[in-house]
């Protein structure tokens, strides 16, 4: 505390949201390799996204104090929770982290009410019951206080777990795949509830998920994790449309990633030589002419030309080809377009009714445009090697 007092002027001017939020730096080699950096400001929901086995849950458990990484530092709410160099490693009890476990880990022999009360040890005994009832009401479980976990549906169990995690008045809320154990309809409902809840919470929230759509819908920022390494952090839109490299592009399921070479590099546009044509790319050039690169484009950046009349972006990077594959996903028709000479299909999507009206089917010739501001150029990386399936 004495140290804090002497440093107060400097600290006061540098008081950024992250200083009171969560700051995680972790490295270790075994048992699970980790090289992770994560910052989350109060009021921010930060999604930690990666395939299974990428170390998401391990990082969450490190934050909660259930697992100690070999090296690193974890700060939250201005306090140091873990510092390998300084040999600081607070117990989970001392950390004030609210953790919602993947399968909720409710106490099976206790009622919903008692489950929440178990996390209210910081309150006087007389105040706990009222507070637990209030917490359960907040997650829409009034009237079910006396039920045991086995007598609750999956969605209700998840709400008890959220109420219990918040009961401690934690400095950070940690959600470990909180939607994976419920059915689709319940999940949609719980998404809405979490969206509401996070607006009312002024604490950092870390959401671990392998579901990109879930992350994009619920988070302010997301971090992509692969084999324990945090590869890129940004808004979901940034990460999903401007992946840092082809590996991230693959991890965020960017379907269209190709190898190319920079043809020209000017102030406002870059030209990328690919498959016999030069694609115009909007934006400041980051690569010198002649550099080997990869480029990618989200399916939404590929526009299908109408046969009868011109449409927006018609002049940008027109390409001709034929439909090789059609996949109906939800209300969209995803089409793989074969372009002569291209090593892989170019994927685009249109609304299914549009595809039907235009009688688009496998084998039909189509013409598309690649929007210049949707094309994203990345450092080259061998697309066949080191890639997750």
């Amino acid at each position: 505390m004495a140290e804090a007092a002497t440093e107060l002027p400097a600290a006061a001017t540098e008081l950024t949201p992250v200083a009171t939020g969560l700051r995680v730096r972790l490295t270790q080699r075994a048992p699970i390799p980790l090289d992770a950096a994560l910052d989350c400001a109060p009021g921010e929901t930060h999604a930690l996204v990666g395939p299974s086995g990428s170390g998401k849950t391990t990082i969450l458990r490190c934050i909660a104090g259930l697992h100690g990484a070999a090296e690193g530092r974890i700060e939250c709410g201005g306090a140091v929770w873990y510092d390998a160099a300084a040999r600081i490693d607070l117990t989970p009890q001392a950390r004030s982290a609210g953790l919602v476990f993947q399968h909720y880990a409710l106490f099976p022999h206790l009622s919903a009410q008692a489950n929440v009360e178990a996390a209210l040890g910081h309150l006087p005994v007389g105040d706990r019951a009222a507070r637990a009832t209030e917490m359960l009401a907040r997650v829409h479980l009034s009237g079910l206080e006396a039920r045991k976990p086995a007598q609750l549906s999956g969605g209700q169990q998840q709400r008890v777990a959220v109420a219990r995690a918040l009961a401690r008045d934690p400095q950070v809320l940690l959600l470990d795949e909180p939607f994976s154990a419920v059915d689709r309809v319940t999940r949609q409902k719980l998404y809405r509830e979490l969206s509401e809840l996070r607006r009312t919470l002024a604490l950092p929230i870390v959401l671990v998920t392998h579901d990109l759509d879930e992350a994009a819908m619920l988070s302010d920022r997301m971090t992509i994790l692969h084999r324990g390494r945090t590869l890129q952090t940004g808004t979901p839109r940034e990460v999903m449309t401007r992946p840092a490299d082809p590996l991230v592009a693959r991890l965020v399921d960017m379907k269209n990633v190709f190898e190319a070479r920079v043809a020209k590099s000017a102030a406002a546009t870059t030209g990328v030589a690919w498959n016999g044509t030069v694609l115009e790319v909007a934006g400041a050039p980051a690569f010198a002419a002649g550099t080997r690169v990869c480029w990618g484009i989200p399916v939404a950046g590929v526009l299908l030309h109408r046969r009868d009349r011109p449409s927006r972006g018609e002049h940008e990077n027109p390409l001709d080809g034929s439909v090789a594959e059609c996949l109906e996903i939800g209300e969209d028709m995803h089409m793989g377009m074969r372009i002569d000479g291209a090593p892989a299909l170019l994927w685009l999507k249109v609304a299914t009714h549009v595809a039907r009206r235009n009688r688009i089917a496998a084998g039909e010739a189509i013409r598309v445009s690649l929007l210049a501001d949707a094309i994203h150029v990345m450092p080259w990386r061998d697309l066949a090697r080191d890639m997750p399936a």
């Binding site: 989970p92 609210g98 399968h103 880990a105 106490f107 022999h109 086995a150 009961a167």
Partner: protein
Amino acid sequence: MDWTAFALSLRLAGWTVAVLLPFGLAVARILAWHPFGGRRWVEAALALPLVLPPTVLGFYLLVAFGGHSPLGRIFESLTGHTLTFSFAGLLLASVIFNLPFAIQPMQRAFETIPTDVRAAAACCGMAPWRIFTRIEFPLAWPGILSAIVLTFVHTLGEFGVVLMVGGSIPGETKTIAIAIYDRVQAFDNAGAASMAAVLLVLSFIAIAAAYGTARPRDIHVG
């Protein structure tokens, strides 16, 4: 009916449970949750009383408790009487031959408590002792109850070890099982029959009661 022997058996069984319960809980938790090198050797040693002939176990205990052993000498210098052929010696022997009956059910019970449930309790801010009393103990209760009942009933019924270590001193080491044997040796079949019947009924009721209570009704772990 030898009431002195019956009372001694109950006293021995009660003390065995009282000593073995806290010790067994500690050992069972460690075996269930804290893998360590050589764990299987410890588990094997703890299970030995299940397979060794009681006379073999009794023989080793007799040697270990005797006046020539360090343990026997320390006990004698502290209390003034021998560890063998005393209630204290009998209790120690009883604790040892009941180890598997107490520890195994409790270890199995602790193993069924998911790691995440215990982690969740820590994340709720519950102190370790409170986690034990509020979460672990109630969840492991069926196994703990089995351990108590098995230990109690098994102590009432143990014969070989008791005879080797305790002899047959009325009021000190002559348990009901020994008393029954004495009656049969004395051709008093009626006396033996009444005591055997008491032991049979008591054991049956205790085990049935434990099965009834220990059945996990609304406990769904996992």
